[in-house]
């Protein structure tokens, strides 16, 4: 990574922060209307241990939910991608499930497994994020050109060999595209549950505490913390993509 690739986004962040500060200052907004970046530092500092503790809570639950999504979504995508019958059978079910706003599922799950915070949160993160993975894997597999299959099938290769050597690696770019969407969704899922569930933990709970105690800078600070974690996780996915599907990126010529 070149220096330019780091300095340009950092500079953009700083400029954005300055613009935000200026906007609040020039309009004379009180911090309950719109907190400014200079209000956020004290909030961060005051609750720094809670931010660390809850941030970790949110992060690991999101990552575990996401891993479940990857496993289940890939398996489901494989089943739908390799069998037309299964695709016809499962698609409407899947689309219908995805169309349900997850905010309505949150209280149901919370009631179903009362008190099991970790499991509830992971479950919602998983439920909200497996759909794009399943769909992209299934599309990647079902749109494999027959010639790709034939070059190995004509040599007597098994279905599994064809899947392992050709279909799976060929689907990786689509898979990572979906994973980038899923990362963000998983964060939304985690926080939905953390906010709704009483006596919860995690950054969502900290946001809720800020709301209850009318600590507006704290609420904004939580949002910024979530954004930062989202950025970090997103770029972890980008790094993985470079390693496993870097071949799909064409050099600009």
């Amino acid at each position: 990574m070149s220096l330019r690739q780091i300095t340009v986004p950092l500079l953009a962040l700083v400029l954005f922060g300055l613009f935000w500060e200026w906007l609040v200052w020039v309009n004379g907004w009180p911090n309950y209307k719109m907190a400014s970046p200079s209000d956020l530092w004290p909030a961060f500092w005051k609750f720094r241990w809670l931010f660390l503790e809850y941030g970790w809570e949110t992060l690991w639950r999101t990552v575990v939910g996401l891993l479940l999504s990857v496993i289940f979504g890939t398996l489901l995508g494989m089943v739908m991608g390799l069998s037309k019958t299964m695709r016809d059978a499962l698609y409407p079910l899947l689309v219908g499930f995805n169309a349900i706003p997850k905010a309505t599922v949150v209280p149901i799950i919370a009631l179903m497994f009362v008190g099991q915070h970790d499991m509830n949160t992971i479950l919602i993160a998983f439920l909200i994020s497996f759909f794009p993975i399943a769909v992209s894997v299934s599309i990647g597999l079902s749109t494999l050109e027959p010639e790709y299959r034939d070059i190995l099938a004509s040599l007597g290769a098994s279905r599994f060999t064809i899947f392992w050597k050709i279909a799976l690696p060929k689907t990786l770019p689509e898979f990572f595209g979906a994973l980038k969407v899923a990362v963000t969704l998983a964060f939304i899922g985690t926080n939905l549950m953390e906010i709704v569930e009483p006596h919860g933990r995690g950054l969502g709970h900290l946001f809720d505490s800020g709301k209850i105690s009318a600590d507006y800078p704290l609420m904004f600070a939580v949002l910024i913390a979530l954004a930062l974690m989202g950025i970090v996780l997103y770029y972890v996915v980008v790094a993985l993509e470079k390693v496993f599907a870097g071949w799909a990126e064409r050099s600009p010529t």
Binding site: D150, S154, L155, G156, A157
Partner: protein, 260 residues
């Protein structure tokens, strides 16, 4: 005379939503060992179905396909295939792509021998220095050369070429025809070439089979006896012009534009 490829009375229909669609109806084709047959015919007449039958990727409704005295019942590792689309795997280097069949077919070669063979073939088609490049870094003609290497790396008895040069520009195509002769001289195989290009068929093959329109049957067989070294000039001799003329008439008949 024993034939390495023998197709006898093959009939086949695809089942579609609007009833059976017959594609092959009385296909006969015999290629002796070391022979090279070109199959030409109107588009959509079932030429690609023919390649899938020979490769054992599908079974005909009726009739038999024999390879080297064995009835074809399924895919065999003694067959190599190349298509119009070079279907190289983008995540592998050119060398790894060429070596792909050796991961499926057991040849008794050591890893070192496999790699040497792949490098030798790439050298033969003029891709020296591109072994470690990705397919996306190569031109269309170069990709097709690599695809050709992959189709013969496991020393198949039968090479099936399904319009491998169809998507290339005219000059690249002629270069590849020459390469094909070079490869055939060093790596003996029995070939079936599907093509739309009559000049290509007489330049490469020693037997040209014209299929009728769908459902296809063998309409006409021409033995090609072109004298002299195979270079492009050979296509401009009176004999070649005569052969091309006969084939063109046959194609016209196959398309149904002329009374037979």
């Amino acid at each position: 005379m024993t034939h390495l490829i023998d197709i006898k009375g093959v009939r086949h229909a695809y089942r579609t939503d609007s009833g059976p669609l017959p594609v092959l109806d009385g296909l006969e084709l015999s290629v002796p060992e070391g022979g090279f047959a070109a199959v030409v015919g109107p588009s959509g007449c079932g030429k690609s179905t023919l390649t899938r039958l020979v490769a054992g990727l599908m079974k005909p409704d009726e009739g038999e396909v024999w390879l080297h005295g064995d009835l074809v019942k399924g895919p065999k590792s003694t067959v190599g295939m190349a298509f119009q689309n070079p279907v190289l795997l983008e995540w592998r280097t050119i060398l790894q792509n060429v070596m792909l069949p050796l991961e499926i077919v057991s040849t008794g070669m050591t890893r070192k021998q496999q790699e040497d063979r792949a490098r030798h073939l790439l050298d033969l088609v003029g891709l020296t220095g591109f072994e470690d490049k990705r397919p996306s870094e190569l031109s269309g003609g170069m990709r097709q050369r690599a695809s050709l290497c992959r189709s013969i790396v496991h020393k198949p008895e039968v090479l099936i070429l399904d319009e491998p040069f169809g998507a290339l520009d005219a000059f690249t195509r002629e270069d590849l025809w020459q390469t094909m002769h070079k490869v055939k001289a060093e790596e003996p195989f029995t070939g079936v070439l599907i093509t739309h290009d009559l000049r290509e068929s007489i330049f490469l093959a020693d037997q040209v089979i014209v299929l009728s329109g769908r459902p296809a049957r063998t309409q006409y067989v021409m033995d090609v006896h072109l004298e002299g070294p195979r270079d492009i000039e050979m296509l401009y001799t009176p004999e070649s012009a005569e052969a091309l003329n006969v084939l063109r008439q046959q194609i016209r008949i196959a398309q149904g534009r002329d009374a037979a």
